[in-house]
């Protein structure tokens, strides 16, 4: 099989069948879960098909022209790193869907459920194999959207709605937009969207690092990754994402989707790493997040919540390790990070599935209500213990190995940075390890050990069927396997993956026993401190609760809720400031812009006002008419009663008619007089049905203001007209000459105005009658818009 085809199939099969799922569901009913799982399996197998090539150290790169106008191709780029995540997505996806067939009640909207999961799976695989940043971004956002839909799967629950919205805003919104902008900045620097091109070109990488936009680009891309992986301040969406069905949490919010950010960090590692900004941003964020999240995890009573915080913390390990890279050692931490990425996916998915089983059987996820289930659910207990201990870093499980490597890397980076980091960073790492140890133990202890809490638990609790246990067992087996035989993942998975990041051949190894080293010491310290902390577990949790009660504002969630929870009210306030209602407020801007359009060129652009000639040779009769016009208009403005004002307007219209006569425009004068009379009749028709007056009391200040505005507008218009009437600029002439000369010849008409109206510019006239036509129809609608009331 052609390898690129296999990859493309692996991406698009899930999409294709996701579209078919609702129709298939009508045929196969609730077995749709098995069908979907099969799709996951096929994708997985397709990836297995291509893996030998990758393990050999090759990459698959294939692209076709997609939007050539803007330089975006559709392409696939498969290397070890992307294959690793894709394996997680399809493999765990398969297990999760199989698990869901039992977990999800048949009454649920299964079609939608599997549809979303398949869509997510396809998006995830598509994202990692994308060969250019735009394509990556497209699939990236699709994973956010499917995650949003899955978190809100139970859409009538307010918490689901809340969690879904939060994740969308932070991942698709903040993160997505930042990422997009970062990608575009990167393209602005490099001139390409193509990832392999940038990765392969050393000079480009140098260019990027020296570019003015470097910091912004890095920052924006990092924000995108951090938001997706719930790092730094963005962590707050992940705990709320636990409203999703538990298999979904296992799949998206621990094993795969949250890894997308880390994948991105790994992907851009060769481009940005080795800089101070990279170290501070990535490693700094990771170190802070791992401690804070670990600490907050202690407070959780919902096991899923606990797992969520632990996920944040664990992802922060990986983030920190990716950030460790220095000039001296570009590969520092990368192996450990990648290894932990894999390990975390296995043990965290295991734990989530166990939580799902527990919640399913015991009907609660509250750790305070659970307890003593080890006898009733022995198999579950064993699997859970394996997962939790791996997370705690207990040998011989895989978590131990990657934690050791983490400690090692932390020590190394500290050493390379010198005082005070050589102590600070390892200390932070140990603190995080201690916290991890504590809550990992809490999971085992809280659920399975101790006394059974009869008050809250159902009478009979037992191990679930093989369908639900199977996936968890498989994952637990991998945990153990990778722990005892670390060379398997190392040579088949981690090494190809790391070579995708570091881009040079390295040989890596790992073994359970690597002598008495600083890391071992740190591990011992971790366990010791962990047990001590575990003793104080409840006290710490209580202290946190107390603290939160006392200082509710000392929380990111508080600010999130303040901003987004009250967004509608706050935005409404702003919107009310602008959309105030009275139309006058809306008219001011128009008038203001009109004034500014004259002032702006004079003041800002300081254009030169060309000289003009005035013409004051007005016959006295015209002058009288002008004065009368102004008088009448002023009167029309100030007479409060309607009818007298209308009569004044009518008189004004007649006077305007005289002006048209003075301007030698008989047609206009007739039209003006006729139009005036009709206006008067309609005016009277209308005011016969409304009160005769409306005495507006104009406050002094408003009066002065309006008079000032009016005067300004008047002078504005005067100024423009003064120049506009200076005549046509040489060497041009008016097109009117044409009309005067040609009208008789071409149309036989002598009244040039009418000739223009019906011949030369007849489209205007057609438009004009259409306006009358429309006014008539509009009036009809106006009078018939009352509905049946009349």
């Amino acid at each position: 099989m052609n390898l690129p085809v296999a990859v493309v199939l692996a991406i698009f099969l899930p999409f294709f069948f996701a579209i078919l799922v609702p129709y298939l569901e009508r045929i196969v009913k609730h077995n749709i879960g098995w069908f979907s799982a099969l799709i996951g399996l096929i994708s997985f197998l397709l990836l297995v098909l291509i893996s030998p090539e990758i393990i050999r150290g090759e990459v698959i790169h294939y692209s076709v022209s997609w939007i050539p106008s803007v330089g975006v191709d559709f392409g696939i780029y498969v290397d070890g790193l992307s294959l690793l995540i894709a394996f997680l997505a399809s493999g765990i996806g398969f297990l999760i869907m199989a698990y869901s067939t039992e977990y999800m009640s048949h009454r649920e909207d299964l079609a939608r459920y599997y549809q979303y999961i398949l869509l997510f799976m396809g998006s995830m695989i598509g994202m990692v194999f994308a060969s250019n940043t735009i394509q990556l971004f497209i699939f990236w956002e699709l994973t956010s959207i499917t995650s949003f839909l899955l978190i809100g799967f139970w859409r009538n629950k307010p918490q689901s709605v809340y969690g879904a919205k939060k994740s969308l805003i932070l991942t698709a919104g903040f993160g997505g937009l930042a990422l997009l902008t970062g990608i575009l900045l990167l393209r602005a620097i490099t001139g390409t969207f193509d990832i392999p091109t940038i990765l392969a070109d050393e000079s480009l990488k140098v260019l990027i690092k020296e570019h003015d936009l470097f910091l912004g680009t890095l920052f924006l891309i990092f924000i995108g990754a951090a938001a997706k992986s719930a790092q730094g301040p963005f962590y707050i969406w992940l705990p709320n994402a636990m409203e999703a069905p538990t298999p979904v949490s296992a799949f998206l919010h621990s094993a795969t989707m949250v890894k997308a950010g880390l994948y991105l960090i790994g992907r851009v590692h060769p481009i940005f790493s080795g800089t101070e900004a990279w170290l501070i941003m990535v490693a700094g964020t990771g170190l802070v997040t791992m401690v804070v999240a670990g600490f907050l995890a202690l407070r959780q009573t919902d096991i899923k919540g606990l797992l969520a915080y632990s996920t944040i913390s664990q992802l922060a390990y990986i983030m920190a390790m990716y950030g460790y890279t220095t000039y001296q050692d570009p590969s520092l931490g990368v192996v450990a990070a990648t290894y932990h990425l894999l390990n975390h996916a296995t043990f965290k998915a295991t734990l989530f599935l166990i939580v799902g089983i527990v919640a399913h059987e015991a009907a609660t996820r509250d750790i305070k209500k659970l307890g003593g289930l080890r006898k009733e659910m022995p198999i579950t207990f064993v699997i859970a213990t394996i997962g939790a201990l791996s997370m705690a870093g207990v040998p011989p499980l895989n978590g131990f190995l990657s934690k050791e490597m983490f400690y090692e890397a932390s020590v190394d980076i500290g050493a390379s940075l010198g005082q005070p980091y050589n102590l600070l960073i390892p200390m932070i790492a140990v603190i995080a390890g201690v916290l991890t140890f504590a809550y990992s133990i809490k999971i085992i202890d809280g659920i399975f050990l101790g006394k059974r809490n009869d008050e809250h638990l159902p009478k009979k609790v037992h191990d679930p069927s093989i369908i639900m246990l199977g996936p968890a067992a498989i994952l637990a087996f991998i945990v153990v396997l990778f722990g005892i035989f670390p060379s398997i993942p190392m040579s088949f998975i981690i090494e190809p993956a790391v070579s995708g990041i570091i881009l040079e051949d390295i040989s890596i190894y790992a073994s359970l026993w690597h002598g008495f080293t600083v890391e071992l010491l740190m591990t011992v310290v971790t366990f010791g401190l962990g047990i001590i902390i575990y003793k104080k577990y409840d006290a710490i949790a209580n202290w946190q609760d107390e603290f939160n009660k006392k200082h509710p504002t000392f929380s990111l969630n508080y600010y999130y809720d303040e901003i987004f929870g009250n967004a509608t009210e706050n935005a409404k306030k702003i919107s009310l400031k602008f959309q105030v209602g009275p139309i006058r407020a809306y008219l001011f801007p128009i008038v203001l812009i009109a004034i500014l359009s004259v002032l702006f060129p004079i003041i800002i652009l300081s254009v030169e006002l060309t000289p003009i000639t005035f013409n004051f040779e007005t016959p006295p009769y015209e002058l009288i008419v002008f004065i009368l016009i102004i008088t009448t208009a002023v009167m029309a403005a100030i007479i409060p009663s309607y009818l007298p004002a209308v009569i004044a307007v009518s008189a004004l219209g007649f006077l305007i008619g005289i002006v048209f006569i003075f301007l030698l425009a008989p047609d206009l004068a007739i039209t003006q007089i006729l139009a005036e009379t009709l206006t008067t009749i309609i005016f009277v028709l209308v005011i016969s049905k409304v009160p005769q007056t409306f005495k507006e009391k104009i406050p002094r200040n408003i009066l002065y203001r309006d008079i000032l505005i009016s005067l300004t507008v008047a002078s504005t218009v005067f100024l423009i007209m003064l120049y506009a009437t200076q005549g046509i600029i040489e060497p041009f002439e008016s097109v009117s000459h044409y009309f005067l000369e040609k009208s008789i010849l071409l149309t036989g008409g002598h009244n040039i105005v009418n000739v223009i109206l019906v011949d030369f510019r007849s489209l205007d006239t057609l438009g004009e009658i259409v306006v009358i036509f429309l006014a008539a129809l509009g009036v009809y609608n106006l009078l018939h818009s009352r509905g049946e009331r009349k």
Binding site: L628, I647, A651, P666, I673
Partner: protein, 88 residues
């Protein structure tokens, strides 16, 4: 002679509009204003007549002709409204 006279005539008639406007504004009753409007139209008709001659252009007579009729309709529309409170 004639041109001076005609120019005077125009000015004089324009000036004659002043009382109309005065009454139109002053009122005091609606009917007064309507009377003034009607009268004003008549003065304008006269102006148009004279102007037509001054400019030696028959076209302004057409305006006058239209104005004479139209002003009448406008006047009785308002008058009927004042009288009956309706127009049609």
């Amino acid at each position: 002679m004639s041109s001076i006279l005609l120019s005077f005539a125009l000015t004089f008639m324009a000036f004659t509009l002043v009382p109309c406007i005065y009454r139109l504004i002053k009122g005091p009753t609606l009917s007064d204003r309507v009377v003034a409007l009607d009268a004003m139209a008549m003065v304008i008709v006269v102006i148009l007549g004279v102007y037509s001659y001054v400019r030696d252009s028959v076209f302004f007579m057409d305006v006058a002709l239209v104005l004479a009729i139209i002003a009448f309709v406008g006047t009785i529309a308002i008058a009927k409204y004042i009288d009956k409170g309706v127009v049609f």
